[in-house]
Each structure stands twice: as C-alpha cells, then as structure tokens.
C-alpha cells in the first residue's frame, strides 16, 4: 500500500501464513472474552471495571474491537469467507490490531495512573493485553487475498439502507457517550477506541464500500444524518454543558463550510475569513436590543441576518476585487492582513478614533436572546417530557443554517459555476482561454463565502450574547482553515468532522488546551505527510494530490462509470 510503514516481505508472510491466522483469531477471541473479566482491583476508576460478567465502558469497547477482529478472521477463512472476497481483511486486521494494541496499552496506563501502579491491573487487563499482542503478531502473517471489484459488491437495497441507518445510530450513540464523559481518561480511551475501529474499517475497505452505498442512497444518507443531528439534543436531558459545546461546534462548522467554498471549490487561500463571521456578528449586535447597541433601527431578526450577510459579502467584494488578481501566497498574505485590519478597525471604532459603532475593546455586551414570533430562544421548552434549554434552541436554528449552507455548497458545486471552479483549479490559463470568467467566478466564491459566514455571525452574536474584537483573532481563521484542510477540501462530511475535532477536543480536554497549538500543528504535519487530501477526500481532490497515482485514477474513473450505469 501507499503509505505502509516498513513491513514484512511477502515470502516471510507466505512461509508463516498457516500460523498467522489462528494467532489472530485467538487474540481477537481473548480480547472479546477479556471484556467479561475484572480489569482492576480498584472499583473507583473508569466506571467500576472490577466486577466480572458486568462489562462497562472500556470493557465494552474492548469487546467490540475483539468482535470485529473475530469477524475479520472469519472473513479470511471460515463462514464469512464470501465477504472476504470484497473486503481486504488482512490489511483491516493489521490496522485494527495496531489500534487495539495502542488502546489496551492506554487502558493499562489509565489504570496505572488512576489507581497507582500496574499492580492494580486484574486478570482481564492482562488477558486483553495478551490478546492484543497475539492479534498484532498474528495479523502480520495473514496474507492478502485477491479482491473483487468493490463497486460490483451488492447486497439488497433494504440491507444497504439498514447499514446506513445503523451507522448513523452508532454515530449518534458514540457522540452522546463521548460528550457525557466527564472523566478525561474515559474520553481519551473512547477516542482511541473510535480511532482503532475506524482504522480497521478504513483499511479493510469498508468505508469505500460505504461510500458506494451512500452514493446509491444519497437522500437516505442525508436524511439519516440530519435526523441524527436533530435527535442529539434529546439525548442530553436538558444539560446545557454539552449543548453549549455543540452549538459552538455548529457555528464553527457552518463557517468552515463557507470557507470550504472559497478554499475547497475555488482554490483560493483565505487567511482572514473570520473577519466575515465577525462583520455578521457585529451587525447582529449593533442592530440587537442590547443597551449598548449603536444602531437605533431594530428590524426583525431575519432582516438583520440578511443585512449582516450582505455587509459581509460587500466586505468580500471590497477585499476581493483588487486582490484576486494576485494568486497563491500573495492572496493569502493580503487576506491575512484584511483579517487584522478588521479586528483593529473594530477595536478603534469607539467614538474617539472614528464613528461610535463598536464600543472599541469593550465590544457590545448584553445582547438579548433571539425572539422569533412568540418563540424566545432563552426559554426552556419541554418536548415529549424532555427539557430543551437555551442552547438546544440555538442548536436547532444553527442546524437549519448548516442545512442551508450545505445546500448552497453542493448545488453550486454541481452546476456550471462549480465546473468553472474546477477548471480554474486545474489550469487557470486554459480555463480563461476556454471562455471561463475566471475573475468573476473567484469573486463570486469570495463574496458567496462571506455571505454565508455573515449569516452565521448574526446568530453567533445572540448565542454568545456579546461581541468583542478579541473573538476574531487570526488564530480563529487559522483554525477554520485547519478544519477544512484536516477534514478534506471540497467535501461537506470532511469539514464537519474536522470542525468537530478542532472544536470538541479543547472543550473536553481541559488539560490538553495548553498544548492544543502544539498538538494541532503536529496533527497537521502528520496529515500533510500521510493524507494531504484530508480525512474525507473528494475524489477529484484526491487525484490532484496524488498526481502520479494511476490506480487511483482508474478507481475514480470506475466511480464515474458507475454513476452513469
């Protein structure tokens, strides 16, 4: 494979093939059984893992990983052999076992630090470790098999829809579970579990297959994803702590998708994008009912939203029209400067140095909650007996906004305009020579992206109940861009994942926040080395990053041919 670390030679593998498979199966089975045993003498750590036959938390995770390992092994040889014709079981098993080893090691480390020393680890923990080691060693010797064409792997339509529904339910369950962990160790272990699981599934090609299924049932997938997102507040029992984080994630994600139009579709590097969110937020604040609002006119909120968005897109046009003639690094520098100019302008428009619009460094505090009709966003409403608080209200309106932004993104992408953007990215001079309005399309991306960020900004002002210049630092722009690059340029799902990772981590892991810049930097460097196209890559983007990879080009072509069939 492309980025495999140094591995065994094929001859060594073939020689020991007979021993590898039983070892891997045994290891997986041990892991599966270990979940039923006692992992620690101490019943106060990681949610009481000392009781036998009563698996909780990490034990259940270990069992799930073990079960996947057993399933993989049985797909290689055994009753599930037919599935193994499509999934690359050997690679999946190898990746899974690596993840499992890290996971089990982390569990033991957690027990050791929480309870004071490895002596507290009971038999379950050690058996899990042995199982993980056996899996790790055994899976290295499982030879790869000849695989069928993935896009011809079919199961009945209802089963495919069931797979989508189950996957979405799993996502909802995992998200709710993770967010409800107050114990930092459990959160980290949950992440390690998810990473191990997805590594195994990704390398086995399950996600590729899932991509094909999703392609065939686009609407079902979209609907299921929105249903899950919509149901999320109902899992929180009125707790505001997680909903507050969730709304922040949504605002961040909405802005990042807007930025993705500029960066991912039109291919323009914008380092000052937060200024557009900021101009929307300031407009929202200035026209709100706050005692510190500086504009007397108080139109209905939808009008304010529109004005905020239009002002932001005018800023986009102002900054764009002279600068879009330069490209690449120069554009990045100009937009970076624009972001700073915006912040400093907001800092100084306090009546001393210019018109009194923003109250300078004090900002505009005390913005009341939104009121649309008789619905006040500050109130708690009971739906089916489940209380939905202030943040849940904002969560729902932001969900609507994100839906709108996604609609704009995908529909522009699948139109004449989207084709023009791709052409510009591929070869700007050829695009110009074929009659594509290069300058106009770039400007449209810039202004359109700004418009969407402006919309998000007006809601953000009410949700934060205050705006001030220090919310709109360059760092925020950098984080937005990081979310786009990390998740995958030009994709929706990728940016949602990227935004969630970048916003959720520092909130859940307070100890981590001191090192977050260091760790994000490290993460980005690793991504650029191993997967420059991002976690969820758009097919075309993937090709652009792996220009010489002919097998990838063939694969992408198969996708296109399948679309037609």
């Amino acid at each position: 494979m492309r980025y495999a670390l140094p591995t065994l030679s094929d001859e060594t593998r073939a020689k020991h093939a007979a021993k590898g498979w039983p070892l891997a199966l045994l290891g997986s089975a041990l892991l599966l059984v270990s979940g039923l045993l006692s992992w620690s003498y101490d019943d106060r750590i990681l949610g009481d893992i000392s009781i036998r036959f009563w698996p909780v938390g990490v034990q259940i995770m270990a069992m799930v990983l073990g079960a996947l390992g057993v399933a993989f092994a049985l797909m290689d040889r055994g009753p599930l052999r037919r599935v193994g014709n499509w999934l690359d079981v050997a690679l999946g098993l190898r990746a899974l076992s690596t993840g499992v080893l890290v996971f089990v090691a982390l569990v033991l480390a957690a027990i050791a630090t929480e309870a004071g020393g490895l002596v507290n680890v009971n038999e379950g923990g050690w058996i899990a470790l042995v199982g993980a080691l056996l899996m790790f060693v055994g899976s290295r010797f499982v030879p790869q098999r000849e695989l069928g064409q993935m896009h011809s792997a079919r199961i009945p339509g209802w089963a495919e829809i069931l797979v989508i529904a189950l996957s979405m339910a799993a996502v909802l369950f995992l998200a709710a579970y993770l967010l409800n962990q107050d114990d930092a160790w459990l959160f980290v272990l949950g992440l390690a579990f998810i990473i191990a699981l997805s590594m195994g599934l990704a390398r086995s090609g399950f996600f590729t297959w899932f991509g094909h299924v999703a392609q065939r049932h686009k609407h079902v997938l979209t609907l299921a994803a929105f249903a899950v997102a919509f149901l999320f507040p109902f899992t929180q029992n009125g707790s505001d702590a997680n909903m507050s984080i969730a709304t922040q994630v949504l605002i961040f994600a909405a802005t990042a998708i807007g930025l993705n139009i500029v960066v991912g579709l039109a291919g323009l590097l914008d380092l000052g994008y937060i200024a557009f969110l900021g101009s929307g937020a300031y407009i929202g604040a200035m026209m709100s009912n706050s005692a510190f609002a500086t504009i007397g006119w108080k139109p209905p909120f939808l009008v304010t939203m529109l004005i905020g968005a239009i002002v932001a897109s005018i800023f986009g046009l102002i900054i764009g029209s002279p600068t879009l003639r330069v490209s690449g690094d120069y554009l990045a520098i100009v937009t970076l400067a624009f972001g700073e100019i915006f912040r400093l302008a907001m800092f100084n428009l306090d009546g001393n140095n210019g018109p009194k619009l923003t109250n300078g460094p004090n900002g505009i505090p005390g913005i009341p909650d939104l009121q649309i009709g008789s619905f006040n966003f500050g109130d708690t409403h009971n739906v089916f007996g489940i209380p939905l608080g202030r943040f849940s209200n904002y969560y729902f309106i932001l969900l609507l906004l994100i839906g709108f932004i996604i609609l704009v993104f995908t529909r522009l992408n699948n139109s004449r305009i989207g084709r023009g953007w791709v052409a510009i990215r591929e070869d700007e001079r050829a695009a110009e020579a074929m009659g594509v309005n290069v300058f106009g399309l770039k400007l449209l991306a810039f202004a359109g992206g700004a418009f969407l960020a402006g919309l998000a900004g007006t809601i953000k002002a009410h949700q934060d109940s205050a705006v001030s210049p220090d919310q709109y630092l360059f760092l925020e722009s950098a984080f937005l861009l990081a979310a786009v690059v990390l998740g995958g340029m030009g994709t929706i799902a990728g940016v949602l994942i990227g935004a969630t990772i970048l916003k959720l981590m520092p909130e859940k892991l307070r100890f981590f926040s001191e090192y977050r810049l260091l760790l994000f930097g490290l993460l980005l460097v690793l991504m650029m080395r191993f997967r420059p196209e991002g976690l969820v890559a758009s097919r075309r983007r993937q090709l652009e990053f792996h220009d010489e990879d002919e097998s990838l080009a063939e694969e992408v072509e198969d996708w296109h041919l399948e679309d037609v069939r």
């Binding site: 609609l407 704009v408 529909r411 522009l412 139109s415 004449r416 305009i417 084709r419 023009g420 791709v422 052409a423 591929e426 070869d427 001079r429 050829a430 695009a431 110009e432 020579a433 074929m434 009659g435 594509v436 309005n437 290069v438 449209l444 359109g448 075309r540 090709l543 652009e544 080009a553 063939e554 992408v556 072509e557 296109h560 041919l561 679309d563 037609v564």
Partner: protein
C-alpha cells in the same frame, strides 16, 4: 518537398467573406522581436496552414490572435470587430483554440471538459443554480446534450465518463478540439493537432478538420507535418524568424526554394521535416 497525394475529401472550398483579419501584428519581448509585421486573413470555410521552423513565432502569433498576449503593434479583427487582448472576450467573440502541449482539465471527465467549453455560451447564475430553477435545468440538459454530441463528432462518444488524463494521447488531442468546438467558434486555431500521432491517427485528424470546415468553421492550423499541411490547407503561410516568408497556395509554397532553405538551412543536415 515530397509531392502530396490528393486527399479524397478535398473539395473546391466556397470561400466566403473574411472572418479573421490580422494587420501588422508585431510582438516584442524586450529586445526580441518574436513576430514582426505579420498579416493574416482567414475567410469563411477556409483552412489556412501556418508553417515555419521551430522558433519562427507561430505559437506567439497564435497567442497574439487569441488575446493571451497583447500585441505590441497591430490589430486583430473578427468579423470586422477589433478583438480585445482578453482571452475570454476573444472566445466569446468566436475564436477558439487548442494548445501545442495539451492543456486539458486532467482530473475532469471528457464530458465535463467539453461542458466547461460551453461555459461562455450559457448564463445560469448562482441563484438559479442553487434553487435548481427552470433555467438551470434547461441549460444543464442542453449543455450535457451538446457536449455529448461534440464528443460523438470527434469520435469520443463512448469515452464520455473517462477521466481525460486516462485517455490515450491521440484522444486527448481530439478532446481538446471538442472542447474548443463547444464554444461555438467561427474560427478555430489548432496548434500542432497531430504532434505525436501515428500515420493512421493523422489521417483521422485531417478527416476531422475537413468535417469541422464543412460545418462552416474556418480553421487555422500550425503543423510541422508537411504532407498533412499540403493535403489539408487551402492556403499556407510560412513564417521565418517572426516574418512572413511567403503566403500562397500549397503548391506555390511547396515549390518555393526559400521555404526549403528555411527548413533545412542550406541543405545539408536535417531533412526529417520533409518526411
């Protein structure tokens, strides 16, 4: 020069009104005069060849015509209107081109490549694209249909969903022609359309160019393959060191001793151009 066998498609062209008129085009890069006072007139339904040794300024002249360069002096008119030095405006006015080194959008499919060519003839804006309005639907369907037609025309109809980077070389050249045709040009400029092709592909290419001419589109071709040029063209212009050496019918140009001299530089070393 070897004598060319007459191609069967060759019919007496019905020469119409001038489409392209370039007058006194001069292109200087600092002290270097790449194109010096070149005139060119192309009539409706005419195929004009542009030949000359490497570095004679043929491609530079093309770039001046299509607005990629702004000529230092001189002007280019299309159907009587002066062309601005903006490639996009030139395409909209009705002059399309292909490139010497193929410049397809390599990660797009053949169909998408040709659809990009339709960009300047369609006008669905962002609003109707987002709302999926009637205009969007109508235009999108028409664009797709026209692109497929053009792919069929150049013989790539069954490769619509193939990525252009995966196409064989000859097909890429033909795809570039289809993409240029998608802009509904009055005149099409082909920069070495048969470079790197085998004899059979070259025959197909000249067949294709005749068919383009029969659609009523004027064609200007840069080429080094003399047999190809003298078979194909109604008129040939020979450029040497940026200046017009001779302009005339293929027979005239072919028999002119100065052309032979320009190509083989006095007649000792390089004779491959005559092949």
């Amino acid at each position: 020069m070897s004598t060319a066998a007459t191609a069967p498609q060759r019919t007496a062209p019905a020469i119409g009104a001038p489409v392209v008129e370039a007058r006194g085009v001069v292109m200087r890069f600092g002290g270097l005069v790449a194109v010096n006072n070149v005139d060119l007139t192309v009539h409706e339904g005419e195929i004009v060849g542009l030949i000359g040794p490497n570095g004679a300024g043929k491609t530079t002249f093309f770039n001046c015509l299509t607005g990629m360069y702004k000529p230092t002096e001189g002007q280019v008119t299309l159907s009587g209107e002066t062309l601005p030095p903006k490639p996009r405006r030139v395409v909209t006015a009705g002059m399309a081109r292909t490139f010497q080194n193929i410049r397809l959008f390599s990660n797009m499919t053949s169909l998408e490549n040709v659809m990009v060519g339709r960009y300047c003839r369609t006008s669905a804006g962002p609003l109707t694209s987002i709302l999926r309005g009637p205009k969007y639907k109508r235009e999108e369907a028409a664009t797709r249909e026209r692109a497929q037609e053009l792919l069929d025309f150049v013989g790539l109809g069954d490769k619509a969903e193939h990525l252009s980077r995966n196409l064989p070389y000859g097909d890429q050249r033909r795809l570039e022609i289809a993409r240029a045709l998608a802009t509904d040009p009055k005149v099409i400029l082909l920069d070495e359309p048969t470079a790197g092709m085998n004899p059979q592909e070259t025959r197909q290419a000249s067949d294709l160019i005749f068919r383009i001419r029969d659609m009523g589109i004027a064609v200007v071709v840069i080429e080094h393959d003399m047999r190809f040029i003298f078979n194909l063209c109604d008129r040939v212009l020979c450029l040497v060191r940026g200046e017009t050496l001779i302009e005339g019918s293929p027979a005239e140009v072919q028999s002119d001793p100065r052309v032979i001299e320009a190509y083989i530089g006095g007649g000792t070393d390089d004779e491959e151009e005559q092949a």
